[in-house]
Symmetry: C2
Subunit: 277 residues, 2 copies
């Protein structure tokens, strides 16, 4: 089902309706084609996951890349070759249909954006689910630490740094980070709060001077939007889930399928469960 | 070099001498065949690692097994197929020679114990280094939490539990745990201290009643020695590095090489570096 066809889809669901639903119900709607919009804000309290699907021949190297770079690539679940039903993050969810939009890349180039990938499925696909910063942002907000891009209704600003990831096989490249301005008096607490969430990027990778990690101009993020930094606030940088996507695109595998940005997999696990050691 | 030959080796080194050496110096002695004894107590402050070497055909499944079971199988470093020089845990250490004793298993059966594995090396070997509880025991002692088996100069008691590991491919089996009696007033602190060391088994998996995790008799450990539990002490259980070894033996791969029990790889990383998030 191409996205183009569904743009005209008659939604019988408002955000207010869907916000009352639990993950399993939302995934059922997604599967039936009744929700193909972004998932930010849906199923509050539950972890959402990034998706990367690769052919078996790339799977060991990518799994090792994630093991070597746990902050940008925090693995939540890996499905064995050919499997598309989750076992740990949700019971029996179908990863070919339960994500609102997928991007299909061939040789590192975007070929199509689709609502399900049944037609693209191959028997040797290995599926990776990675943690997403929505989980720790919820924890920051609960701790009364402001999250500027949410306040400003923007995308989080993302920057390509000069911090190299540890390479593995064909996968290598710089770490991409997100930036959130934090009031000086709350920086320690921001480190503490996010440290608990190692499976969703965890503690910051840098605090303060952006030039120290190769960022020239905070006002010009490489992805997402620029946000205001107030007097008395410090830029704090966390590893970003765009890193593995950028690394995979650069490696140009024959085929790779990811979620479309913002259109995540909604798991049955609470953020608090993902946080536990 | 078979161990039998070296049993007669004239050691010109006492424990007192070797305890002044840094990891690189100790590894050089091991490489030259001048130290083939256990490594407990050597290079205080530095992390020691368990070794598992498997052929490439098993590597993805075992890597995934570790990813799914991080407490019993905390990965410190994985070397790509054919590589035997460490990159992250030490600079250029040779894993074919720098461990005092190796066990060679074929079809799950111990075939030989040797001092180096150069003659056994195959181009598609994938080498896994896993964290070891020595690191967190040092942290417990520093926090004045007693470690009974060290006091009693015994091996830590280990038990096969009824907690199933999450399987991956041919690898499956129950979790093996270690037990350390902790004074009731120090149990919380023991959880806190070891939680910091997620790369070396991390926080306990169980506190108190052994029958709840399938252990019938604390006095009869499945491996290691029984230790005294004093009045006012609670048995605390941590995931154990014997788990991956037991799981691999049960899977009966054609070939597997591990360190011989107690004869570990001494890394250049401080326990505190391994602890950082």
């Amino acid at each position: 089902m191409e996205v183009a066809e569904t743009q005209e889809m008659q939604y019988d669901l408002s955000m207010k309706d869907i916000n009352r639903l639990v993950p399993q119900e939302i995934r059922a709607l997604v599967r039936k084609g009744k929700w193909d919009r972004p998932t930010a804000g849906l199923a509050p309290g539950y972890a959402q996951a990034n998706l990367v699907i690769l052919q078996q021949k790339y799977a060991f190297d990518f799994l090792l890349f994630c093991q070597r770079n746990p902050k940008p690539c925090p693995l939540l679940e890996v499905l064995e070759g050919g499997k598309y039903q989750t076992e740990y993050m949700a019971s029996g969810a179908d990863l070919r249909t339960d994500i609102p939009r997928y991007n299909i890349y061939r040789g590192g180039k975007l070929e199509a954006t689709v609502n399900d990938i049944k037609d693209f499925w191959e028997a040797d696909f290995v599926t990776f689910l990675l943690g997403c910063s929505f989980s720790f942002e919820e924890a920051l907000l609960r701790s009364k630490i402001p999250v500027r891009h949410i306040e400003e209704k923007k995308n989080v600003p993302m920057y390509i740094t000069n911090i190299p990831c540890k390479p593995s096989g064909i996968f290598s490249g710089p770490m991409v980070v997100t930036m959130r301005p934090v009031p000086l008096v709350k920086v320690v607490q921001a480190v503490q709060v996010t440290s608990r969430y190692a499976s969703v990027h965890g503690s910051p990778v840098h605090i303060g001077d952006p030039s120290k990690i190769g960022i020239k101009n905070l006002k010009k993020p490489d992805f997402g939007d620029s946000v205001r930094i107030n007097e008395g606030e410090v830029p704090v940088f966390w590893a970003c889930g765009v890193t593995p996507q950028a690394v995979v695109m650069q490696a140009k595998p024959d085929l790779c399928i990811t979620h479309a940005p913002g259109h995540m997999f909604i798991t049955d696990l609470l953020n608090e469960e993902v946080a536990s050691f």
